[in-house]
Amino acid sequence: MEEIILEAQNLTVYYDGRPAIEEVNLRIPRRRITAIIGPSGCGKSTLLRCFNRMNDLIPSARVEGKVLFEGVNIYTPDVDVVEVRRRIGMVFQKPNPFPKSIYENVAFGPRIHGVRDRRKLDEIVERCLRAAALWDEVKDKLHQNALTLSGGQQQRLCIARALATEPEVLLMDEPASSLDPIATMKIEDLMRELTREYTIVIVTHNMQQAARVSDYTVFMLAGEERVGRLIEFGPTQQIFTRPRDRRTEDYITGRFG
């Protein structure tokens, strides 16, 4: 029996009054990797961005339903969105390090959450860079601009930066889609490593990647009216070998998408 950390209940998201995803119900197990797959435009990213309220930033977006994090609905007015985002970190499709030093990138989160002590910051930076398997490559150039790193290194830096606020969940929006195969492999190895402490939810349009790294898989699909729905959720092995839904099978076997 898995312990649930995040749960979506009847989640519907509207953009300009039009639903983008509808009635999504999903339970995400703690310290596992859950992959969200599906063709373009099925609302994978929209769903992911509900889990740390990133949709708040889009003025035309409206969210209905509930997202429970540790049993608490994060969409109630008395919830502190800053704390939600600190505890549910996010890594984006394109590496987006700040144009600051490697050190300052990792220290950014702790700093805005009130860590001033230099020694404590040093300790956090080293721990997170080690956790993101980047320490050995950058330990001699911590004060160099992060934009001098390669794409794969930049993405691992972004993971280290997200880890620095001590989150429990990491949301990853196609984190390897702009990287070459070797950098992708490093990110995937890293994800496996991170599940010892963290829960990971990853959006990917790469089915092999979902099959390789995830424990659970969510398949989403948008119909004719372009509203994304959750079609099937289950252990990755089952989804990829014995899907229950015809549409999942069609997608897995490459018949559409």
Binding site: P59, G89, P97, P99, I112, T165
Partner: protein, 315 residues
């Protein structure tokens, strides 16, 4: 393997020959190219011409007045019987009015840029931006009278011993004129900061203010600093407002309540006055003009360097 060209029909070969039409086309191209080159060269030649005139006219001045006197004497009285040629009072006047202008324009311009780029809803932005740009289009002579006939009387109510012509009023009005320059250029720099950086900061739990001050502003810093420098260059070169409202009394002071004279206002005074051409008195304006030119040239070059560096950041 042997390679040969396929025999070509005569008619095809004939078509490939340059005919009259092709020659006309080439002449046309050449003519257009020359015209465009000439247009581009006009401003280059003008700039070179100005520098030459400044140097040619300033040189005889410096043969009569030593550079040491010019730079160290604390009085500027070339039009009086007792002649002194120290640039210091004019320089102080220019720096004083510019400092007052920048003290207003930099904070207000930067804050409005941050508001427009980071806070304003698209609709508000669409209204405010054009209004700010209208402010930049008002002729400076209008600003000059605005300073003299509106700002100065207003300030006199608050500051009792304010002189009618004073550096403060001219400086503040100049500041108002420069706000759009600072806000518009700074806003461009802020707007160019990729949204992905803001998202990254929000996802770490940053507030809107933290995103603006710790991510957007630092990422746009070189563009913002460049806008400050261009504003400074504009303030130093501004003529009409200071000529009308700041006075024509070259005294060495940093008290903004007093009447002063800037380098630009002095040049206006002599050019419009009855000082005979070719005299030492008349040549002073070329010496002053040369100093002014060097100042703004240096500032513009620094700004260009900074902007170039900032363009490279996101490549």
């Amino acid at each position: 393997m042997e390679l040969t060209t396929r025999p070509v029909a005569l008619i095809t070969r004939a078509r490939l020959q340059r005919g009259i039409a092709a020659q006309w086309r080439e002449w046309g191209e050449l003519a257009i190219q020359s015209l465009l080159f000439f247009a581009a060269m006009i401003s280059v030649f003008t700039t070179i011409g100005i520098v030459i005139v400044l140097l040619v006219e300033a040189l005889p001045f410096f043969q009569q007045v030593s550079l040491v006197e010019f730079l160290t004497d604390t009085q500027w009285t070339p039009l009086f019987a007792q002649k002194h040629f120290g640039i210091a009072p004019l320089l102080a006047g220019t720096l004083l009015t510019s400092a007052v202008a920048l003290a207003l324009a930099i904070p207000v311009g930067l804050l409005s840029a941050i508001y427009l780029s980071e806070y304003a809803p698209a609709r508000v932005r669409a209204i405010i931006k054009p209004i700010l740009e209208i402010l930049a289009g008002i002729p400076t002579v209008v600003y000059g009278y605005f300073a003299l006939l509106f700002v100065t009387p207003l300030l006199k109510r608050v500051i009792p011993n304010l002189e009618t012509f004073n550096a403060l009023s001219a400086g503040l009005t100049m500041g108002i004129m420069i706000i759009p320059l600072v806000s518009s250029l700074s806003e461009d720099a802020l707007y160019a900061v990729p949204n992905s950086l803001r998202e990254a900061a929000y996802a770490l739990g940053a507030t809107r203010l933290e995103v603006a001050l710790r991510v957007a502003v630092p990422a746009a810093l070189s563009g913002i600093v460049a806008s400050f420098i261009l504003a400074a260059s504009r303030a130093i070169g501004e003529t009409m407002i200071v000529a009308i409202a700041a006075g024509q009394r070259p005294i060495l002071t940093l008290d903004p309540r007093r009447a002063i004279e800037t380098m630009t206002a002095y040049i206006v005074q002599v050019s419009l006055g009855d000082t005979p051409h070719g005299t030492l008195e008349f040549r002073t304006i070329f010496a002053v003009g040369l100093v002014l030119f060097l100042f703004t040239l240096a500032l513009n070059m620094i700004a260009i360097r900074i902007i170039q560096r900032y363009r490279e950041v996101y490549r």
